[in-house]
């Protein structure tokens, strides 16, 4: 390996142009695949389902009339990338009779996304993961609860006299305010 690097004709300027050319050409060669890759990777960010339709959850008569919340599974169509599940469980809600009608709470804990249980004796809600506690109306019951907000209340409507319809939505956990996951 005794070959000497051939001396360019004392032309640092030409060297610079060559280097620039090399970098630009190589860079351009990578543009299309990289851009295509990034686009595909970011695809989930553009998909959103802003308007959640109301879904029929149950009959009014089924909601206990003693003010104790009762859990209901919510079934709806769910699209997961290439698979569409028809009429499949998508989540669950607690329905409670209140003096003004029906209150609907998402069972998901606003702290980190676990499912909140109705404590034995139905005195309050308790999250099994990080011990958040909520009153039966969904407000934070224990100030030491790590949850940043009350349980998420969902829109509920009574249709045709006795059908309970709910706009089922999940919200960003860990935020002080309800931000829908879309």
């Amino acid at each position: 390996m005794s070959d000497e690097t051939p001396k360019a004709d004392g032309a640092p300027r030409r060297n610079f142009l060559t280097a620039m050319g090399a970098v630009v050409a190589a860079g351009l060669a990578g543009v299309a695949p990289v851009l295509a890759g990034i686009a595909t990777l970011l695809d989930p960010l553009r998909r959103s389902s802003d308007d959640q339709p109301m879904v029929l959850v149950t009959k009014l008569a089924v909601v206990p009339d003693d003010g104790i919340p009762r859990k209901f599974t919510v079934t709806a169509d769910r699209v997961d990338a290439w698979t569409t599940y028809q009429n499949t469980p998508v989540g669950a809600v607690y329905l409670t009779r209140t003096p003004d009608g029906i209150q609907c709470l998402n069972v998901v804990c606003p702290h980190a996304g676990c499912f909140v249980n109705l404590a034995p004796g139905a005195t309050h809600f308790a999250c099994p993961c990080h011990r958040s506690q909520f009153a039966l109306d969904g407000t934070i019951a224990d100030p030491a609860s790590p949850s940043p907000r009350a349980m998420d209340e969902l829109d509920v409507e009574i249709r045709n006299g006795d059908e309970v319809w709910v706009r089922f939505q999940n919200f960003q956990p860990g935020q002080e305010h309800k931000v829908p996951i879309v």
């Binding site: 990338a81 698979t83 980190a112 099994p128 940043p148």
Partner: protein, 611 residues
């Protein structure tokens, strides 16, 4: 041969490479304390190999991930061993990393000129933890699903970019196919590639700087090969022995398939993340970012600055002290996390239920019918043994009990107001009903308005007083006949062997020799005064389904129906849900053998009732 190798060396120079790799000088001689780096490299290489082979059998999608892991674990030759080694070697890697880090800090091996290599090491620690986190989700079982969901929810609290970051990581708004494909790409592609790069750079720098020796005059200088390699090889043997023992003794867990709608209260991260889980319990609302990001961020930054801090007077002692404090703190948090779980009956019950469901789905998946194209989750959702107790607990247990509990093993909050349905339809259940001492207890009619009704009076006074001895002698046959109406699978053998007894009971009933048809319609004979439920097909699947559908139907309690809602007619339960409850009460669920002997049936029943 020699000539061939000479030729190869001339063309490639491989001998120099080998020489450079093996003949590294070790001043002070080989030592056991130098084994950690090699043991760690070995563990990571094993993870690469086992990981690639698992990849050859794994499918990253929401309807195939659990199923393919099930197939590896329970069906493929040596699959349990391959997966077991990968599973436990991952945990051993984390332990070895910590030991390696401790050794480096205690020996002060981070000092100039080795700062950059220390940083590479920390980066690799992060990558390995990333591998653990992503790998935990891949089997797509309940445990991995819910534990990982908590982890990505925490990522979402990052100020400003949190939600978008979560969506990017998860591959959509909810966990699904793309969560798996992304986590798999990270776990098997991106992170390993980065790790390979860093390991190469780490070893290159290590060779460039040489080994950190405290006492070069301890023993004569030696070479890496073979003296140190012997010690390293023994260490590798010890590592694989530990892993194999763990695989054999503890087995490799595969929970029930992930169900986004089924709460899993026993969701916990892998043990080496348990301290973080426990740590987060101490931060009330509004402080999560502080607890989950700022404090850990500051600690990691200080650790990264150790090479600089180590140059100061007392700096090295500070570093050793800090690392000791961190390890103690992590140990304490881990201990507290597990101690709190052990003292939490709800957690223990959830854990027990999860174990039972995992065992059950393994049983279902290995059935001749196998796993359908819709995945193992549909097996879980249509299994009476899994769903029955839950549906019973949430729909029936406010009035009924099942063997004294709510179906899931918890005692009822208040006294039951309707009968205990364990064994409903069986001869034993009927024997209790016809027992004057028991009919008016809470087990049967005690909590209902029928406590003082016709039937209770009949059993308590009519049979003992008004019946003749001949009539009373027919009672055991009546019980057999009535129980045969239920057509219980588990009583099939007895019903057919004792067909003559059953026939005798039927005759006694239909001829009016015993007084059933006064109130009950039975086998074509209409009741004289139809007050009680129809007994034709009593407690059969169809009878029970119709009863649950509407107990106030004339075939059942009519206007006398006591508080039981029409579950089907009112749309409280779907057809499928009613079937699951009824099949569970009738103990009609898939069993591996068609001919179940009594003790085995008992064992399954106890298993389902345990809590």
């Amino acid at each position: 041969m020699r000539g061939l190798l000479d030729w190869l060396d001339h063309r490639t120079g491989y001998r120099d490479v080998f020489k450079a790799a093996l003949y590294e000088r070790i001043p002070g001689g080989p030592r056991w304390r130098y084994i950690w780096g090699s043991a760690l490299t070995y563990a990571i290489v094993i993870q690469f190999i086992t990981g690639l082979l698992l990849w050859a059998a794994y499918s990253a999608n929401a309807q195939g991930a659990w199923e393919s892991v099930y197939f590896i674990q329970y069906e493929m030759w040596g699959g349990w061993l391959l997966r077991g080694i990968h599973h436990y070697m991952a945990q051993v890697t984390v332990v070895l990393l910590l030991l390696h880090l401790m050794q480096i800090v205690i020996d002060g091996a981070y000092r100039a000129p080795r700062e950059v290599n220390f940083w590479f090491g920390l980066a690799m620690l992060g990558l390995v933890l990333g591998l653990s986190l992503t790998g935990y989700l891949l089997p797509w079982d309940q445990k991995g699903f819910w534990a990982t969901k908590v982890a990505t929810s925490i990522a979402a609290i990052t100020p400003v970019v949190g939600p978008a970051m979560q969506k990017f990581l998860v591959g959509g708004a909810e966990y699904g196919h793309h969560t798996l494909t992304r986590f798999f790409a990270l776990h098997a592609g991106i992170i390993p590639a980065a790790l390979v790069f860093l390991i190469a750079a780490h070893i290159y720098l290590f060779r460039r700087h040489g080994i950190t020796v405290r006492d070069p005059d301890r023993a004569p200088e030696a070479m890496f090969w073979p003296d140190q390699v012997l010690r390293d090889a023994v260490a590798m043997l010890a590592v694989i022995a530990t892993v194999l023992i763990l695989v054999l003794v503890r087995g490799t867990e595969l929970g029930a398939p992930a169900d986004p709608t089924e709460p899993y209260a026993a969701a916990r991260p892998e043990w080496y993340f348990m301290f973080l889980f426990q740590w987060l319990k101490y931060f009330p609302a509004g402080w999560e970012v502080f607890g989950a990001m700022i404090v850990p961020g500051v600690i990691v930054t200080v650790v990264a600055l150790m090479p600089i801090i180590g140059n100061w007077e007392m700096g090295h002692r500070f570093n050793v002290g800090l690392l000791s404090a961190l390890i103690l703190g992590i140990g304490l948090l881990t201990y507290l996390g597990y101690a709190q779980d052990r003292a939490d009956p709800e957690f223990l019950a959830a854990k027990e239920q999860a174990d039972r469901e995992a065992e059950r789905i393994e049983h279902l998946a290995s059935a001749p019918a196998g796993i359908p194209p819709t995945g193992a989750l549909s097996l879980v959702r249509t299994d009476p043994l899994t769903q029955g107790p839950k549906l019973f607990a949430s729909n029936c247990a406010s009035c009924h009990t099942y063997d004294g509990h709510d179906g899931l093993g918890l005692p009822p909050a208040e006294d039951p107001t309707a009968s205990d349905l364990a064994g409903f339809g069986s001869r034993e259940w009927l024997e209790g009903l016809f027992d004057p001492q028991r009919i008016a207890t809470l087990e049967y009619f005690g909590g209902t308005q029928f406590r003082n009704g016709e039937m209770a009076r009949f059993v308590q006074r009519g049979i003992p007083n008004a019946w003749t001895d001949e009539q009373r002698a027919e009672l055991p046959y009546v019980i057999k006949a009535l129980s045969a109406e239920a057509g219980l699978t588990r009583q099939q053998a007895a019903d057919s062997v004792e067909a003559a007894d059953v026939e005798r009971g039927r005759t006694a009933m239909t001829t009016g020799f015993v007084n059933c048809i006064e109130c009950h319609t039975y086998r074509g004979v209409d009741a004289e005064d139809p007050e009680g439920p129809v007994l034709t097909g009593w407690a059969s699947r169809e009878w029970m389904l119709r009863m649950v559908d509407n107990p106030a139907h004339d075939d059942f309690y009519g206007d006398d129906n006591d508080r039981m809602p029409p579950f089907g007619e009112d749309g409280i339960l779907t057809e499928t849900e009613m079937e699951l409850i009824v099949d569970w009460i009738r103990q009609d669920w898939y069993r591996a053998t068609v001919q179940v002997d009594e003790s085995e049936a008992e064992a399954v029943e106890v298993g389902s009732a345990g809590g």
